[in-house]
């Protein structure tokens, strides 16, 4: 429970029913010897009522607590700091527009622990100093850190770091963090702001400042301006986890550095002494590079966690990139629109990486199914163009 942002709380269930009567008889059937350790006369306790999708008055709550008098409570009530907390949980369904008179289900249990859902609010992107157009939602960033099994003293790397949201979540769990991005301005925290009423980024807007905001600056190792397809690490296994959200080519462009002759005329060069960037980076190549990089630089047992954008009508499981050194652990879909979604892919390194060359021909065949997604950008927008065309047609009619 110290890690999950998906569960609010966990209770030891003592009884349940579809009505108060059913609940009470269920409770009477719960073995007394399991109750007694928490109810004896030296202990303190309190009872809370939680209702989901309904509000009760204080009077109604007190009535429900009184109805539990038959339980062998021998301890003293302490509302401020009880040793044991018991809860009545009433489920009134999921539709806020049709709240039933009586609950569908009632549960009674002993509270054990809370999850970390508070982190979603405390780390909310709304309050973060430095954000970008595609900063990861706080809840998702913690889920990704959990998929990566990030733990204290790990080194976590994000090769498409952006504003560092994924590093913040990993640092929260005690990992030391590295990030790279091809975009000079984002890494340095310069240029136009992403917030609605703000024009330029302020001096406290950069990845390091984000970590500092949450008291996590000690976990900041470094960020570099670098092309993820041409990494600058020496040979070795340095990372316990690689957690990243690569660009999909929609709101951030997919780019890699290229040579002069490949850049079409009229394309802007980056201001700061850099090489021209803007070669389109085919998505399938990007995932090929990412998996290869992970296989090479992760420790054995280390994890790669990343988002894979898909055009839903053409998606098949065969499309998920694979690598002989990496085992697929999970594949979770999040819908983005009617015809697109992204999949959170988690892989674990199970084989040592031998040398680069032996994999290149093997993998190019397996990446063919994903080739279709190179035009992900066109497919993403195809729905929009069709809808606009439809609307215009109906206006004319």
């Amino acid at each position: 429970m110290k890690r999950t942002v998906c569960a609010k709380s966990i209770f030891e269930l003592w009884g349940h029913g579809k009505s108060p009567e059913e609940l009470y008889s269920s409770l009477k059937n719960y073995p007394v010897e399991k109750m007694v350790p928490f109810l004896h006369s030296d202990s303190t306790y309190k009872i809370k009522i939680h209702t989901f999708n309904k509000t009760l008055t204080q009077e109604e709550k007190v009535k429900r607590i009184d109805a539990l008098e038959f339980l062998p409570f021998e301890g003293k009530v302490n509302l401020k700091k009880p040793q044991h907390i018991f809860s009545v949980l009433e489920d009134y369904g999921l539709d806020p527009n049709h709240i039933p008179e009586n609950p569908h289900n009632i549960y009674f249990g002993r509270w054990i622990a809370d999850g970390q859902r508070d982190l979603i609010e405390s780390y909310s992107v709304k309050k973060r100093h430095f954000i970008g157009n595609t900063s990861m939602d706080a809840g998702l960033s913690f889920i990704m850190a959990n998929h990566g099994k990030v733990k204290e003293n790990d080194i976590v790397f994000d090769p498409f770091v952006g504003t560092g949201g994924l590093l913040v979540a990993s640092a929260h769990f005690g990992a030391y963090v590295y990030g790279t991005d091809i975009d000079y301005n984002t890494v340095h925290g310069l240029g136009k702001a992403s917030r609605k009423n703000q024009k330029w980024r302020g001096p406290d807007e950069n990845i390091r400042a984000n970590l500092r905001q949450y008291g996590l600056e000690k976990y900041y190792l470094d960020v570099l301006v670098s092309d993820a397809s041409k990494p600058s690490w020496r040979k070795g296994t340095f990372f316990d986890a690689i957690i990243t959200d690569p660009p999909y080519g929609i709101r951030e462009s997919t780019r890699r550095t290229g040579s002069q002759k490949e850049i079409p005329k009229g394309l802007e060069k980056c201001p700061e002494s850099h090489v021209p960037v803007s070669l389109s980076y085919h998505l399938s190549d990007m995932f090929f590079d990412l998996l290869n990089f992970a296989a090479e630089t992760l420790v054995l047992g280390g994890r790669l966690v990343y988002w894979l954008p898909v055009y839903t009508p053409e998606y098949t499981e065969e499309m998920v990139p694979w690598h002989p050194c990496l085992k697929l652990i999970s594949n979770c879909e999040q819908k983005l629109s009617s015809h697109t979604s992204r999949h959170l892919i988690t892989m674990e390194k199970v084989e040592e990486f031998e040398n680069r060359d032996q994999y290149s021909h093997l993998l190019s065949d397996h990446f063919l199914p994903y080739q279709g997604h190179n035009s992900f950008r066109e497919k993403y927008f195809s729905g929009v163009t069709k809808r606009i065309a439809k609307e215009e047609k109906s206006i004319q009619e």
Partner: protein, 125 residues
């Protein structure tokens, strides 16, 4: 840029291969930034360090009291770990360059951030 990072970076200029490491460090602005000491993390990093490269970089920055090699039982030697903690994590190069020892290509460091971008011609295929 911290010295731990410098120890992990290599030049990927075409044809250079493993001779791209270590990058020659030159610093015009350095800052000491205190970081909370975590002996477990430092101990974990010791086996990953390329010691010769570290000594060279530390020498360039005129650091003193740099252990010449990991000592026996370093995991429990607080004095050793504290020295390594300082060298690897608390010394930051804010402005300077990293130079590929084979090709001579310079990678600038500004505001503490190295820029490793190369053009296609310069990189390995």
């Amino acid at each position: 840029m911290k010295l731990l990072t410098h120890n992990l970076l290599s030049s990927h200029v075409r044809g250079v291969g493993p001779r791209g490491f270590p990058l020659r460090l030159q610093a015009t602005e350095v800052r000491i930034n205190p970081v909370e000491f975590n002996p477990d993390f430092v101990a974990r990093m010791i086996p990953k360090v390329e010691w010769a490269a570290l000594l060279e970089a530390a020498d360039t920055l005129h650091l003193i009291e740099v252990p010449k090699e990991p000592i026996e039982g370093y995991e429990h030697d607080e004095e050793f770990l504290r020295k390594m903690h300082h060298i690897l994590l608390e010394v930051e190069v804010l402005e300077g360059t990293l130079q590929c020892p084979e090709s001579g290509r310079l990678f600038p460091i500004s505001r503490g951030i190295p820029n490793m971008l190369l053009s296609d011609e310069e990189t390995e295929t």
